[in-house]
Amino acid sequence: MTNQKEEIRIGFYICHCGHNIGSIVDCPAVAEYASKLPHVVVSKDYKYMCSDPGQELIQKDIREQGLNRIVVASCSPLLHEPTFRGATAKAGLNEFYFQMVNIRENVSWVHEDKDLSLIKAKDLVRAAIHRVAYHKALEKKKVPVNPDVLIVGGGIAGISASLTMANAGKKVYLVEKDATIGGYMAKFDKTFPTLDCAACILTPKMSSVLKHPNITLWTWSEVSEVSGFVGNYKVKVTKKPRYIKEELCVGCLACVEQCTFKEGKFPDEFNFGLSKRKPVYMPFPQATPQVVVVDDKTCLHFKTGKCPQTCMKACDRNAFDFNQKPEVVEINVGTVILTTGFKPFEAKRATNYGYGKYPNVFTSLEVERLVNASGPTEGHVLLRDGKTHPKSIGIIHCVGSRDDKTNKWCSKVCCMYSLKLAHLLKEHSGAEIYNFYIDMRTPGKGYEEFYDKLLNEGVQFIRGRVSEVNDWATTPDEKGKLIIRAEDTLIGRVRRIPVDMVVLSVGLEPAEDAQDVRKMFNISCSNEGFFLERHPKLAPVSTFTDGIFIAGACQGPKDIPDSVAQAGAAAAEALALIDSGHVELEPNTACIIEDRCCGCQVCINMCPYKAITFDPDKKKSSVNEALCKGCGTCVASCGSNAIFQNLFEDEEIMSELNGLLIE
């Protein structure tokens, strides 16, 4: 109920917003109309309410006219509510005695008919004036921000963000689901356009992550639960058993040598199955941390229980522990940076390119390993048979990108990495290289120049989407070759080009677990499934959930420089939040009137944040304000009207509703 003792004195202000509102809505008419509404003491129209003079106008009236409620009709509250609340507060009135009416985005910008716009504006104003009478004084809650940060995903973005945060003196928890950090970059041989060796620039960063006193690195681990709110997140991390005591293992690999499997037998994930590994293995030579991992899906001990366990015996530091179970650690952090990366397009899905059917069709990532000196072929470009050198290679761009049948978007990095691979393949094999592209997209420092360089290196470029790859030899010399059919749109003819090897430049897709991650951290994804930024231009690394930031390819296809840049941006945002020391929470929380509560507990399930608890002794439920995020779902569920939501009390909404409809 409104406080009966105090007399409600409402000040109403309508903004012309230059011509934005004024040209459609007759502002003076609305002001005139509002002046006759109940409790309205002051009613004015002004060119720019959000300007300093506009705000001073309000403050002056509050002081001189003893206003105790303020209504401003202007733009969207999502834009200027803070501004006017501020103005209200400056004049010594509680900022929540303010109500805003959106007559720009919701009226003047979307309607042309002046008469109907005027009616609509009046309705909305009347509603707000009815509503504001019921407003109550509320206090914004200030909660301290925990300075520790969680970073999810140990690719180049996660690594950069971690180091920046750690160097700024913050405690960083870096969680990586693989056994090593490094992500995709660790698999690359060279990076475009400078062709500097990926390992040379990445591995130092990886080891400084490991060494950094402020960074706690958990590999082979996954975030399993997140609760809390900005500044105060509670996170559960599950460390998967690697059956090795991390602190004891020095990565001597004695165990790997002594494994009962004399030869590698299982597809090596790091080399995309181009080589074989043993059940106990080191992901790759520079893996960080230098700790082996036992794969319980392939290890004899776990499959049969009948394994001599030569690996364990070989370990002089007794680092083995076959009884390890998943271990859950709980941490508290104030901010989170998600750098969970991408998933390469699954080449099999482009059935017309015959990946999986014709052995010598490779994916670009497989080739990254083939040309890598530390790769399965020590950098020799060989066909699937492991011995033949290809004399001609076709690189097909946009596989799974810019395609209605698969993904519509451009994966951004493929043109450049295809050029890079073209260069490396030529360099390593001397083969004839054909690039099949739709458009060559090389914006970026030194990128176009790189393209020019390739043109001069004598790499062939054919502009046209490849229709199919097959083994249909029409002449004897085509036997055993792969035929690439494509329309060369520059000469306007369909061409058949026989090659020994086909490379599919696969695009980038949202990571396998993107949806789970987004749900866990309560953020959104844009339509194609990458994490949604708060604003595409002005808040590219923020999300709609305060304190959760995103960087790298999890937000959309991105190359290394962009990922690193975003990682820095995300770190800066997180630091800004942390160093401000506290966050202010909108006081729109729910509250249970104990005297009305009957203890039916219907509301408890309504709350996604477990903010409502039931006291079996009192037989009453109550809301933990700190956990409540103010959705109001519990309020609607209560058959006793025992719950109310600040700023959205039944009577506030009902009065707004009545105000809308009753002239």
């Binding site: 985005e105 979307v110 844009s526 909404i653």
Partner: protein
């Protein structure tokens, strides 16, 4: 900027629109910023989540003369509060059954999932619903209720 706004001489229904702050309300801002014209029939009441919407509000809206009620929430799985939209959907479904029993055409009440990015959809939904209500004509619920409350 396509002008799909109806002309004045036509009767313009009054739709009370309960919009979720995070999706549909943002979408309506987007529609504004993109200057998408649509019928001036909606009167938006902003709530933090479609899960806050109490069947009471909807009945009150009809009783006080709304020609239609439009609820805008986040797409399934996209709720800012993780599941409020499902809770809204469940209430809506039950309410819909009741509304029909009360002889109110179900077209007068509509639930739509409109994400923050779907200004276009908002425009379409509002125009569509406005048309439907024009065909149904003004709601008489208010008069009926008032004649009963002497």
């Amino acid at each position: 900027m396509q002008s799909t706004e109806q002309k004045t001489e036509q009767w313009s229904p009054r739709i009370v629109a309960f919009f979720c702050n995070w999706c549909t309300y943002t979408a309506s801002d987007l529609a504004g910023v993109s200057r998408m014209r649509y019928a001036p029939s909606t009167r938006v009441i902003r709530v933090m989540c479609s899960g806050r919407i109490d069947p009471e509000f909807i009945m009150e809206a009809f009783a006080k003369g709304a020609d239609g009620v439009l609820i805008g929430g986040c797409h399934p799985g996209d709720c800012h509060y993780s599941e409020g939209n499902y809770k809204c959907l469940r209430r809506y479904k039950l309410l819909q059954k009741y509304i029909e029993q009360m002889g109110i055409p179900k077209e007068r009440m509509r639930l739509e999932w409109i994400s923050a990015a779907e200004g276009k959809k908002l425009q379409e939904v509002v125009n569509e619903m406005t048309e439907t209500l024009r065909i149904l004509g003004p709601s008489k619920i208010k008069n009926v209720v008032e004649t009963l409350a002497k």
